[in-house]
Symmetry: C2
Subunit: 410 residues, 2 copies
């Protein structure tokens, strides 16, 4: 069985490897603190005899050779970077539980047919370059070394500039052929409240939902707050608030737990207390299990725009910036997760992931599937994020059992 104290110890050790922030953890890819965290993780891997390597982008691997080391590897892990002022579990829990699963294999003197690799992925969060899932994209070839000079941070510094100071001399290439990996397994905390609410141990992810990002612009006419009478206004804020309050209630009433609509950014122009806003620009993040639902909500948003034009004499534009299909997790690995839960006596359900994860990138390249463990109140990207030691232990046990089962599948 997994030892929860060892997992908690690794997570707590990484929690305090942080740049200064308000009570949480800030360990952004390619920084000195990220190097410190990666070296901590590599040292723990070396302790149990894993062969450690690091690729050019900074992903770290620890490998037990297989009985037949020419077979494709079983890879388990998650990311080691954090957003600013984060909690300790997002990503790290998956890496620490994969490490624990490898420890159990070592302790039980199990020799797998396939090589096993524990993986710590860099820069999943996209904090530095606004590019999420950077580490996994370099591994699957979505990005190549040549792209390092194209990816820039806010100050205009390229990833190429940054990485040259970070990269190890003996680093290995990032890209791996799709036949090099048999299965990628990822544990992650749910980042939502459903497992906790239902009292379940494990959420096996069916798919990562479809995501669409839109920009809505409401064009009114700016004017003095004191001199333009209400009936004659073309107030962009009134129009926008009409749309925002209704798109939220439409999505909640029609789709309940099946879709989300979020307005996370909003700008009023000119932005003076005493000026009727002439323009309002806001973002809409839509997520659902199918593109059909996203299309329906988008259609309703456009209808609200027309409604605003009549009611408030403004004009509206709804621009779809991106629309990404849902990504199905590998069927066979999900079956392994279910069988292993049954064997371990863990309660579980199927669910979708509303968030993107490295498994989304990997699943285009080799069989991949992820599962969730509960986190308190669904709080994440926040120092208050919390996962119980018991949940971590169950997660590590499920990874361990699944690795053994996959090793025997072929």
């Amino acid at each position: 069985m997994a030892a929860k104290n060892r997992i908690v110890n690794d997570i707590e050790s990484l929690r305090v490897i942080t740049d200064p922030c308000e009570g949480g953890t800030t360990r952004i890819g390619f920084t000195a603190k990220y190097r410190e965290g990666a070296e901590y993780f590599k040292e723990r891997m070396r302790e149990i005899g894993l062969e450690v390597r690091e690729d050019k982008i900074g992903n770290v691997y620890g490998r037990f050779p297989g009985k037949d080391d020419s077979l494709p590897a079983i890879v388990a892990g998650s990311h080691l970077d954090t957003v600013r002022n984060a909690g300790a579990y997002d990503g790290v829990a998956g890496a620490a539980c994969a490490l624990e699963a490898a420890r159990m294999i070592k302790e039980n003197n199990i020799k797998l047919n396939h090589p096993l690799e524990v993986m710590g992925i860099i820069e999943e969060e996209g904090t530095r370059f606004g590019q999420v899932l950077l580490g996994s994209k370099f591994v699957t070839g979505a990005f190549s070394d040549a792209d390092m000079d194209k990816i820039k941070d806010e100050d205009g510094k390229t990833l190429g500039n940054i990485i040259s100071a970070y990269q190890l001399k003996d680093s290995c290439p990032c890209y791996r052929e799709s036949n090099e990996v048999l299965a990628f397994l990822e544990l992650h905390d749910e980042q939502g409240p459903l497992l906790e609410d239902k009292g379940l141990d494990i959420g096996i992810v069916d798919k990562i939902v479809a995501i669409s990002w839109l920009t809505v612009t409401v064009n009114g006419f700016a004017g003095h707050a004191g001199t333009i009478p209400m009936p004659l206004r073309q107030d962009a804020a009134t129009g926008a608030s009409h749309m925002i309050s209704r798109i939220s209630s439409y999505t909640t009433e029609k789709y309940s737990y099946q879709a989300t609509a979020t307005v996370g950014q909003l700008k009023l122009l000119p932005g003076s207390v005493n000026c009727v806003p002439g323009k309002c620009i806001f973002s809409v993040d839509l997520r659902a299990a199918s593109l059909e639902i996203i299309e329906d909500i988008t259609k309703y948003l456009r209808k609200l725009g027309k409604e605003c034009e009549e009611l408030f004499h403004v004009s509206t534009e709804v621009e779809v910036n991106s629309r990404q299909s849902p990504i199905e997790m590998n069927f066979d690995i999900r079956q392994v997760y279910r069988d292993s839960c049954e064997k371990l006596g863990y309660s579980y359900c199927s669910m979708n992931s509303g968030a993107g994860h490295d498994s989304m990138i990997f699943s285009k390249h080799w069989p991949s599937a992820m599962f969730f463990i509960p986190c308190r109140k669904g709080i994440t990207h926040n120092p208050e994020e919390y996962v119980t030691p018991e949940a971590l232990e169950k997660g590590a046990n499920l990874l361990y059992e699944s690795i053994l089962a996959i090793d025997k599948l072929e």
Copy 2:
């Protein structure tokens, strides 16, 4: 009669005395361009024999002595500064028409009993120091020289620092006793659409409306846009948009032309596309002829806050930052305006000013009253602001007639 070409010439000459901006005029107090504009205005005043002086804050005056020069002065004018990328008429129209009225008095060889002063006021807009009506406040003693070191711009530079480079060596004191001025007359373009809509020449201002500024804070709980289901959210943006759309419709339906409610600034936190907003802070600018109406709208805003708490599981705070009573314009001067309109055959109405003006400050110190002339579509603080030459001419004629009438009142 007033010569519209002379007024237009002065306004167009001042229009092009501007710092670089996008097609409009930017002439902010205490800058080199403001000095250039003030010197232009002083030169035009000198041309017609007005005795020119400038006070320590930068207000400029041109004086015709009265038959009895110990009598209090009749002062007419408005401000010479602009907001950023402004039109050419806001303020300047009032100063240029006062200058034209003085020209007419000179041309008609009229010798008034009272001294007459044309006044160009500095920094009404408050663009540099966030302090509106600065010039008039120094004249009436609301600010004294000692305050110059307390008033700071965004960079922390004090008015005292700035003014020392701007101030003339022979400038006169700012403060004037309240018995030094018999009447202050101010022409301004309406900055609203009502006179144009009604086809009227003149709007005689009864009062400058009550103004209240509020800050509303909606506290929700931040979370991941993909992982927190809609029914479990505490979304600050949804709560805020509920309040904004309803405060706007309440004010429009209940008060129509009698009150305004404007949300000009809004901030979502943390402000990421993929994050449910945990906090929304927005400004509310309320204006109405009476404090009772302002109180009623504020009460409704608090009620909406309570409604949000039940509907969206957020908490709300409504903070009143300022509340200023309406300011009545001088009754006798308003009567003079009315009588002069009748004499000139101009159509007119009584109306309130939704905007603050220097007359608001002066009226606490000596008899003051203002009137409006129409501007196209109510557009102001915008390069597209436009007042017809005919409207300017009528405005100058009304100032001229009113000055003569007030001179004979005592």
